[in-house]
Symmetry: none
Amino acid sequence: MLCVVDVPRAIKPVDFLEKPRPEVAREAVERGVSEHRCVIIIGACEVSYRGRASSKLELGERVVFIKEDGALLVHRPSQYSPVNWMPPQCLYETRTVGNSLVIKAVRRKPSEAIEITFNRIHAIATLTLTDRGEFSLYASEEEMGEAIKSDPNLIEPDLRLTSMEKKVEPGFIDLYGTDKQGRLVVIEVKRTTAGRRAATQLARYVEAIKQHTNRKVRGILVAPNISKETKTLLATLNIEFKQLSPRRCAETLNRKRERETLDKYARNTKMD
Amino acid sequence: MLCVVDVPRAIKPVDFLEKPRPEVAREAVERGVSEHRCVIIIGACEVSYRGRASSKLELGERVVFIKEDGALLVHRPSQYSPVNWMPPQCLYETRTVGNSLVIKAVRRKPSEAIEITFNRIHAIATLTLTDRGEFSLYASEEEMGEAIKSDPNLIEPDLRLTSMEKKVEPGFIDLYGTDKQGRLVVIEVKRTTAGRRAATQLARYVEAIKQHTNRKVRGILVAPNISKETKTLLATLNIEFKQLSPRRCAETLNRKRERETLDKYARNTKMD
DNA sequence: GTTTCCATTTCGTCA
DNA sequence: TGACGAAGTGGAAAC
């Protein structure tokens, strides 16, 4: 029987070299890259790039960051953007020329190459980073519902929503309203790609509403996108689809909150 | 008499802290930021952002890079783009909570804020970088001159240039030649928007040439573009403007170099 | 794969 | 300072 134990890793998370000689630096970079570790080089360098464009960066002190996947960033001491870079999956080649370390990275399709020449290296850090953390951007499903309620134009013009907030099924936020032509509108929101489940759920709900009214009832499925099969299903069920991303909703909410803050401030100053 | 000596700077280019305790780390970040130095923090952190959008990044090991101007980057071990960031000019606030270091950065207009919580810090590097190197995308001023010499059609048809390369003023490359109608042509090249200086400089040069010849002399200012006031000045000085971008020049040079490489290859294979 | 469109776009230039 | 457009745009989704 195989026994798996949690062995502490032999490699330190951060290996730091201060003022390494060129050959030592070269070896550190070469090893770091081949072992798919992150390598950060701090020093004075020149950079030339040739590929989708051409560029030349004169001598200066910068931070060069090579990532596990081969992505490369050359950062100056200021500004958000790297002055030079290479996308992930590029190939590396290092050499020393006199007292300098030369790092060359190339990529095919599109063909491009960068060459960085360090004539002085302050430090090199080689990192072993473990990052499995999930990154979630923008709004939750609930926040999407809030955003639509606060600005129904996200769905269509002249739509008026009544805040009912009744949940038909856990995890789905439903909105009711009336459109420009006075038809009832039932909306179901999904934060990710809408699947069959969401479509049939909404269809059942539309049918239920129709039992209690003589007015026309529209069903609108709102989601950042939709699978092809669900799309055909929607056509069969006579339900509409409205594309809307959590990001867009978050923007709307943020604007709304900003307005509210401003209003509050205005009221407060007025009261003084 | 004042005596200037080359004093080694008191601040080391790289200050490195390995596994600093939270309070030590906090102080290092606080000082680095207030002294407008670059600060790189390597460790395990969570990140939340609220502003133009909202986001949440779960625990994981990352590199956080704060630049001299306050720009902040949170980089995961892979990918080109930072997972979170803040633009330059944002304000910082640090604190320790239990064994964690919290870094908060805020900005107005648009209102946004990021909060990074490190529950483990592998290392902090504080950097003092000097970077005055010029970055030129596409062709340099000199290369623009080369491109024009190799293909005068970039300026106008039937222009013939004699390679004189005499510099009138540092940073300006001048080209001389003869146009279709036998007039002398004096060209001044600027890599960026042409200003008043370039115009008057060229005008003086044209006048100087006129002293030594009976032929008509044209002055052409070559630049990617020109300010409105400089344009009116050019009219007064009777100098022409030819729009030409470093990009176009770089493309011309690249094609030329490609041709040369192909020719060389053709010759070599022929000799085999 | 290629194309299209969005972005916490960033970054410059100009009015 | 705000508006407009380009970018070695990058990145995701659609086709």
